[in-house]
Amino acid sequence: MMFRLKDWMTGVASVLGCVFYCAAFAQGNASDAHSAGAERIKQGEYLFRAADCAACHAEPGGTKLTGGRAFTLPFGSIFAVNITPDKKTGIGDYTDEEWLKMLRSGVGRGGKHLYPVMPYTAYTLMSDEDALAIKAYLFSLHPEHAAPPRNQLSFPFNQRWSMIFWNWLNNPDKRFKPVSGKSAEWNRGAYLTEALGHCSQCHTPRTLTYGLSSKAYAGTVQMGWRAYNLTSDPNHGLGGWTDEQLKSYLATGKASGKGPASGPMAEAVEHGLRYMTPEDITAIVVYLRSLAPIAEGPVVQSSLKVQDKTQTETESRGQMLFVQACAGCHLPDGRGRQSEWAALAGAHSLSDPEALNLIQVLREGTSLETAQGRVFMPGFTKTYTAEELAAIATYVTAHFGGSNVAVKPSVFKN
């Protein structure tokens, strides 16, 4: 039983990453712009972005927050709910109290326990004011009548009450309290990181029951993507990054000499971080800088390491394929050409001995909306063979990351 529960939790974990598909933001209702609540709604919209809600709740392929996005887990599917103010299918009937209870304890209207796909263990830290501002913003949207499909889970995972035990173990249900002795900036950063951005949900390793472990921000793997070590460790974490690099990465999804954000992180930037004010970005950086170093996870690449051209047969095959399909954007020397987001140099994923994120972008592609338009890479599995993709990954890590990773073709098996 425990084994199965763990499996389930791992599945849940995978979607805690939240963000795998593009979704655009719903627009606020302009007619409210002059009302008394306008300021609050605007604030709510900002917080809504900081909390990255749209990534999960936008309709698949669309912009309305009608939910419906499927989280496919090994034991069934969970669907994101409609968070427009429609009374029947959305959140239109939520009172403020019910709203706060839902965000904090994971208990929805009518006493339904939410599954922790919804990061309420982070949102619980939000202040009443902020939580209700988000609600005000959502209530300013056009109500859309759209019932998401019913969850399809098998027993015992369809038993919402089992969440009581999980919450008891893992949900602190506390508000964020500023730490005295820390600067206001640090406290703002901590609040943004912990309560809204729910960064720990991806970047902190999990315990056996899928709660957050004590190794905060030491990095972990979520649904095949590596969420890197964010602690101040100079070799494994962010210790070697400059403030400028960090700010740029958070605000735009790229940093000179550090490669681009991809996959879930790209989506976190796209839906949330790029809307943050420079002050808030700086505050997050200040907070991240304070995280105690933990020497875990792949070592950070200090610079582009271009090795001699051809080593193994696999690498030379990888190079041959790289110049066909990859160099158009990344350049044969990995410096990028079409945009700064195509620069591979220094990307953490190139020194990951498992090359996880590299494998993921080759499999699934990645996309990021930036101020200069959308940057993207398509997935390549449909036409390149598993051996070819493995050869590309092996070549790229060896050639640009200086690591000797023999990526196995089987990781590209669909």
Binding site: Q319, M320, V323, Q324, A325, A327, G328, C329, P332, R337, Q338, S339, Q372, G373, R374, F376, P378
Partner: protein, 153 residues
């Protein structure tokens, strides 16, 4: 937004969205239709132009990123020594079939020869594999590159 571009030696000002790829600025705003649209995702090379002498895929290069740099397109490549040599070799080897990819091919080769006047087959592989020719002129492209490279001034 307004952008100042240096295209084929002339200054041009265009008023376009900042995320507009250079490809469409060239084709639809400036009427330089020699640069082709083939894929829009940097997979085919038909849109290749030179940005400060380096080959770039104009379909993904935003006008904002191109502004302030020197851009050369197929229409002016004959004014470069390497470009003229490549064009001549292309005719002498009768490389071209439908021709749709060939602006991009010629731009890629010219950049190659400007950096590496005597490329090996391996150099040619690396420089040219990003340019698709659906008509399959590859055998002749390779031959023509060697011919152009052998015709030093």
């Amino acid at each position: 937004m307004s952008f100042d571009l240096h295209i084929n030696g002339a200054a041009q000002t265009v008023d376009v969205p900042s995320d507009m790829p250079l490809l469409w600025v060239l084709r639809d705003i400036l009427g330089l239709t020699g640069t082709k649209y083939g894929c829009g995702v940097a997979q085919c090379g038909a849109c290749t132009v030179h940005l400060d002498g380096a080959p770039v895929r104009s379909c993904l290069l935003t006008v904002a990123a191109a502004a302030g740099h020197h851009i050369t397109t197929i229409e002016a490549i004959e004014q470069t020594e390497a470009g003229a040599k490549v064009q001549q070799a292309w005719l002498d080897e009768e490389v071209i079939q439908c021709g749709y990819c060939q602006s991009g091919q010629i731009m890629a080769v010219t950049a190659l020869l400007q950096n590496n006047p005597h490329p090996t087959d391996a150099d040619i592989d690396d420089a040219m594999a990003g340019n698709i020719c659906r008509c399959g002129t590859y055998v002749r492209i390779r031959k023509a590159i060697h011919r152009a490279a052998s015709q030093d001034a």
